[in-house]
């Protein structure tokens, strides 16, 4: 085992590194690790890598520019998954340990994230982003190594041939920069952002954008590997130590979706208009437009319709509400053009999926509004002056409007929305104001509404609840760990005034006392608020609660499935 060998040669020179298992810092993970991994490491490594991938996800949502993006990701990497260069003069043992961790953690997450299409998509997206990031930050030699390892096929366009191929369009690139010709399908990201010139299906990629090609190649291969992995996964069912760990890992990234506790039927078609005061800005805007125009386009109908479903408008009431809202059309037009989609939203047509209301993340990142559309997130999609006008219309004080517009301009959309909620709660007379007017970060319009309306009645804000699927189930191995972030207070279900007994325990680490945006970046959490704090207990390698269980050596049955992977071997911690 190399690790033992490396361990014996403490202050080894780079020479040692060159002949080691990991001569290069960066990897495209072509081969699976042939090492022993303890169960303990198995989980810590994977969780640390997860932190990094989440940090990238988070940064993509709210970084203010390229520099900010780089800074955020580097911070996460330094903390959870450092990977020093050969020039760093660190002991070879440390370099090897870092590279091994990078390698092993990638493969563990492959296993954990191959289970569903959605998880595979998530993992692919952020692993590619991580590779691109590391490529950008790497030095020339490392880049060459990585490109070599990925065996990219590139056709270089000689300087002399440039004008012949591109004509006037060659002016789009700087004259010194080498250009490569590839099929446009290999650089979709650059095509989508119009960063390359296209000619007859070929894209001309400048040297500085070669990372996109690398990411594409990597994505293709990783996508295939994940598909194979998914087929092999049922075999793992026999290993009762790993399956819960893998399950736990992947369930922690799935977005924590807010589920309202309101029962269907709680709201009638007649009461929607009165309730609009408690709507978040996006829904207030859609509702206002619907009233004014007696019509909404498709995106708006979906966003508002599912929100209303979430606050308790049942199917019959929804049909009545929308029928009345679209007052100008005939019954026939309504039935033919709209009723189907409303029933569809309630799972009564087509695939019969009972659709959930959109989360803030979804509203912010997908289906941006086009001309004539009113859907979207006002903090994300309104021009600055329109946002100010809308906030003033909601009777906010100038100072609040300024602060909220500033947060929106800095791309802290959900924080801006949370501030909006706070400002609404605080302007109430003292008696009707909640004791704690610093709500948890808003992650869903329905959560905003529930907090706004429940605060009106009870004087207490309930902690954000998570859907049962997403609550980080305590690990089989470390049953106590996921509770780390829960900050004091009475035991959840009994002493709060719960509007609903079914709420899961508020183990949403990080959510509990999250005063939000004030502090460092963890607090900016929005959708991710729960991520940062909750797992902080993991990194330290604290043996924690040990439920026992057979720790012997086991094999992940991957190679047997012809996956081209060799087997990570898992040993008991005592073997280390």
């Amino acid at each position: 085992m190399f690790s033992q060998r490396a361990a014996k040669r403490d202050n080894a020179a780079p020479e040692v590194v060159r002949h080691s298992r990991y001569p290069s810092r960066l990897s495209v993970y072509a081969d699976a690790p042939e090492l022993e991994v303890s169960i303990e490491e198995f989980e810590t490594f994977a969780l640390d890598r997860l932190q990094v991938l989440r940090a990238i996800e988070d940064a993509q949502l709210r970084a203010k520019g390229d520099d900010d993006m780089l800074r955020r990701v580097n911070e996460a990497l330094d903390k959870h998954l450092p990977l020093h260069t050969n020039r760093s003069r660190l002991p070879a043992r440390q370099l090897m340990a870092e590279r091994r961790k990078d390698h092993v953690s990638h493969f563990i997450l492959r296993l954990a994230f191959s289970r569903t299409e959605e998880l595979r998509g998530w993992f692919l997206r952020y692993e590619c982003a991580l590779l691109k990031h590391r490529f950008r930050e790497a030095d020339t030699a490392e880049r060459q190594e990585l490109l070599g390892a990925a065996r990219l096929q590139l056709a270089h366009i000689p300087a002399a041939a440039r004008d012949g191929v591109l004509g006037e369009a060659s002016g789009f690139y700087s004259a010194q920069e080498p250009l490569f010709e590839v099929d446009f399908e290999r650089v979709l990201d650059l095509v989508g952002r119009s960063q390359v010139v296209l000619r007859a299906g070929k894209a001309y990629v400048p040297q500085s954008e070669v990372a996109a090609l690398l990411a594409h190649e990597f994505r293709q291969r990783l996508g295939r590997a994940l598909a194979v992995c998914a087929k092999a996964l049922p075999q793992l069912g026999e290993d009762e130590r790993l399956v819960p760990v893998l399950h736990n890992l992947s369930s922690q990234t799935a977005r924590r979706e807010y589920r309202s506790a309101t029962a269907a039927g709680a709201v009638s078609a007649d009461s929607v208009d009165e309730l609009a005061d408690g709507f978040p800005l996006c829904m207030q805007h859609l509702h206002g437009q619907l009233v004014a125009d007696r019509h909404l386009r498709h995106g708006g109908r979906m966003q508002l319709g599912l929100f209303l479903k979430g606050i308790g408008l049942d199917l019959q009431e929804a049909l009545a509400y929308w029928r009345r809202a679209f007052g100008a059309m005939t019954d026939d037009q309504f039935t033919k053009g709209y009723a189907y989609n409303i029933r569809h939203n309630y799972g009564m047509e087509g695939r019969r999926v009972d659709y959930a209301p959109y989360s803030c993340h979804r509203i912010i990142t997908t289906n941006p509004p086009g001309p004539g559309d009113h859907h979207g997130c006002p903090f994300r999609h309104f021009a600055a002056d329109r946002l100010r006008t809308a906030l003033h219309r909601d009777r906010l004080a100038d100072a609040d409007v300024g602060e909220i517009a500033g947060l929106a301009a800095a791309r802290h959309f959900q924080v801006a929305c949370t501030r909006h909620l706070e400002a609404r709660l605080l302007r109430r007379p003292a008696g009707a104001r909640p004791a704690d007017a610093h709500p948890a970060a808003v992650t869903s319009p329905n959560q905003f509404f529930d907090m706004c309306t429940s605060a009106a009645g009870t004087a207490h804000l309930c902690p954000l609840q998570l859907s049962p699927f997403d609550t980080s189930r305590p690990s089989r191995l470390h049953p106590t760990r996921n509770m780390d972030g829960y900050r004091g207070g009475p035991p959840p279900n009994q002493q709060r005034p719960p509007p609903n007994q079914q709420r899961p325990p508020p183990n949403a680490s990080g959510y509990g006392g999250n005063a939000g945006y004030g502090g460092g970046n963890a607090g900016y959490g929005g959708g991710n608020a729960g991520y940062g704090g909750g797992n902080s207990g993991y990194g330290g390698g604290n043996p924690g609660g040990n439920p026992g269980g057979p720790y012997g050596t086991c094999l992940l049955p991957l190679a047997q499935r012809g996956m081209g992977h060799t087997l990570p071997v898992i040993t008991a911690p005592t073997d280390l």
């Binding site: 979709l188 299906g201 070929k202 053009g337 989609n341 086009g370 006002p378």
Partner: protein, 416 residues
């Protein structure tokens, strides 16, 4: 998801021609007028025997009360024809080609039944231009606002051909207020959702909803992109006559407020508004050049910041660059109304538009169902109807398609 807003956003006006649509008249249309053979050859990609291109394709038939019969699929052109004549749908939508025959979808696991390919499609709908056109709104169109569609077809057609290298482009009038483009090259059909998103991203330029006044803000570098340069050249051919002349986009305070709102300079906005309010009736062309002069002067003083220097270019794009319904393009599994079906609201046939006729195509020349039936009832047997030139256009398009590569042996013969 059923279809884009084209199908669902039925606006409130009543078009003529819909009164002539009934199961009986539709039945006659599918019996006597619908170009079955060409249609089958198109979707079977000219292969001699039925291939999975056809047999695994989803069709959706809409019957009288807006009921969608989804996941219809057919063994061959003969079966398709018989079923079409039997059901006489008021609308046909075309979906993706799946891993299995869509009619068996319900009995298959969701993971097993997946869409694998489809033409790359684009949907341009005049309702997306409601904030720039002044002649009509909603579902109605006229010869004036149709020119936005002409610009859109020219811009998109050239980009798809020159930049992406696609050659098999079928443009189709949607029967009412827009056009569809079906890119039928094999390479386009194979694109996955990510590939479609990238093409849509490359072609999409007007971004932002109703609450975003400035919808185009190109960086200096992007504005040098050959696609942008070429599109601007096309737009400039039309801008003065169409937007300033026919549309008079600055004629009234309501109209100019929308344009001024995009100006990134508060003071300039107020000055121009005051100036125009004093003489409101002057033509838009005069106001436009005043605005551009004022912006240029201000930009010279304030430097390249604040987006003033690029204002004119951004506005040309914002006002006239094609507005694509991206949801239709980006999802492999999205239905789109078929060519040669009858638009349920107007009764007009969704006719192909030849690529050399973008400027001359008149949407009101697309025959209605009632008109066609009168023609075949009155004319001598065998004489051509006003659908004939459109069938010819389709014929030329289909003849140029290459046979599908995955020809599978099949015992079903071609029967027509």
């Amino acid at each position: 998801m059923l279809a884009g807003d084209d199908a669902l956003d039925t606006a409130m006006e009543v078009d003529d021609g819909s009164g002539e649509i009934s199961p009986a008249t539709l039945g006659q249309y599918y019996q006597r007028l619908f170009p079955h053979e060409l249609y089958y050859r198109w979707l079977n990609y000219n292969a001699a025997a039925p291939t999975t291109e056809f047999t695994h394709r989803e069709f959706s038939f809409t019957i009288n009360d807006g009921i969608y019969l989804r996941y219809q699929s057919f063994r061959d052109g003969g079966e398709f024809q018989r079923e079409l004549q039997r059901v006489a749908p008021s609308k046909i939508d075309i979906g993706a080609i799946f891993t299995a025959q869509p009619k068996h979808a319900k009995s298959l696991q969701p993971g097993v039944f997946r869409p694998v390919s489809k033409e790359l499609v684009f949907d341009i709908d005049m309702t997306d231009y409601d904030d720039v056109r002044t002649c009509c709104t909603g579902g109605t169109i006229c010869g004036k606002c149709w020119k936005f569609v002409v610009v859109a077809m020219r811009v998109v057609d050239r980009a798809l051909r020159e930049d992406f290298g696609f050659e098999r482009l079928l443009w189709v009038y949607s029967g009412r207020r827009g056009v569809h483009c079906w890119v039928c090259d094999e390479r386009a059909r194979r694109l996955d959702d990510a590939g479609r998103r990238a093409v849509a991203g490359y072609l999409g330029m007007v971004r932002g909803g109703a609450e975003q006044s400035k919808k185009v803000s190109l960086s200096q570098r992007s504005s040098a992109h050959p696609h942008v340069v070429r599109s601007l050249e096309i737009i400039e051919e039309y801008f003065e006559d169409v937007l300033l002349g026919e549309q008079e986009i600055l004629l009234t305070p309501d109209r100019w407020a929308k344009v001024l709102a995009a100006l990134p300079d508060e003071e300039l906005r107020r000055t121009l508004d005051a100036q125009w309010s004093r003489h409101p009736d002057r033509p838009s062309a005069d106001k436009w050049s005043e605005m551009i002069d004022a912006v240029d002067k201000r930009a010279a003083r304030r430097g390249a910041k604040f987006g003033l220097a690029t204002f004119e270019r951004d506005m040309l794009l914002q006002l006239a660059y094609p507005r694509l319904d991206e949801n239709v393009t980006t999802h492999l599994n999205h239905l789109l109304k078929s060519p040669f079906c009858i638009h349920p609201k107007t009764g007009r046939v969704c006719t192909p538009i030849a690529a050399d006729q973008f400027d001359s195509f008149d949407p009101f020349s697309a025959p209605t169902l009632g008109q066609l039936l009168r023609e075949i009832n009155q004319a001598a047997a065998g004489s051509a109807t006003s659908l004939a030139p459109f069938v010819d256009t389709f014929d030329r398009f289909v003849a140029a398609l290459l046979p599908a590569p995955d020809v599978k042996p099949s015992q079903h013969s071609l029967e027509f």
